[in-house]
């Protein structure tokens, strides 16, 4: 419990950019920076786009402090200003948005 609490306190992420491909069915690329001091297992992340959990791929397995991971979500069709939420394995989260 104590270890988990310390880990949570030391965990922080920032969604620093979201870009999309063109077309009505498009992909988005989410850049997430580890702004905490613990390493994060990217496979434990949950990505929520427009309120719905989406499957994703990432260019790295572990995200070390100050490193950036590029997460890709494919085959989206939402339009308007879309909110994206990224949640780490231990429940730390950050939001971003893009316009489609």
């Amino acid at each position: 419990m104590e270890r988990r609490m310390v880990e949570r306190l030391n965990t922080d992420i920032d969604v620093i950019n979201i870009s999309k491909t063109s077309g009505t069915t498009y992909n988005i690329s989410i850049k997430v920076k580890n702004t905490g001091s613990t390493e994060l297992d990217v496979g434990d992340f949950t990505i929520i786009v427009n309120g719905v959990i989406e499957s994703y791929s990432a260019d790295r397995e572990y995200l070390y402090p100050l490193d950036i991971v590029n997460i890709t979500v494919t085959n989206l069709t939402y339009t308007g200003t879309i909110r994206v939420k990224v949640v780490t394995g231990n429940g730390i989260e950050d939001y971003g948005s893009y316009t489609a």
Partner: protein, 147 residues
């Protein structure tokens, strides 16, 4: 005369041994009882410390699937959690929901995994609401959202 002195000593000795035995037996039973209770309490505390979960939805975008709102519950603890409508109680704005109006899928989540809580849309009117889910060992999470 000699018998009465030695006899009375013997009687006192035997009586004191019997009393000491009874008292020691009683203390042993009480001690064992306390030890068992402490053990049980320790296991419960350990379960509580190892159990943690979080509602991770976007509060402004609660997905609707058919006639159910979907809430995502992430296991942020260290032990697996059984997610059924027997192990979890669900409250909307302080009102306990009937077991028939919600269910989970999947019904077991391991560390860092997500289960979906399906709540009948008839239980949630439009506007702001507070969802409270109480899981095993009394661990709970609250979430304010808008539909």
């Amino acid at each position: 005369m000699g018998f009465s002195l030695a006899g009375s000593h013997l009687i006192f000795f035997v009586a004191s041994v019997i009393v000491a035995g009874v008292v020691a037996g009683a203390f042993t039973a009480v001690t064992l009882n306390i030890s068992g209770s402490l053990n049980e309490k320790c296991n419960r505390v350990k379960e509580k410390l190892d159990t943690d979960f979080e509602i991770i939805n976007d509060p402004e975008k609660i997905p609707l699937s058919g006639s159910y709102y979907l809430f995502y519950i992430k296991n942020t603890g260290r032990s697996k959690i059984e997610t059924t409508n027997d192990t979890f109680q669900v409250f909307i704005d302080g009102n306990l929901l009937d077991k028939g109006s919600y269910y989970f899928s999947p019904s077991v989540v391991f560390q860092s995994e997500v289960t979906t809580l399906y709540i009948s849309s008839t239980e949630i009117s439009s506007g702001n609401h507070r969802l409270r889910i109480v899981g095993p060992a009394g661990v709970y999470d609250e979430f304010v959202f808008n539909v």
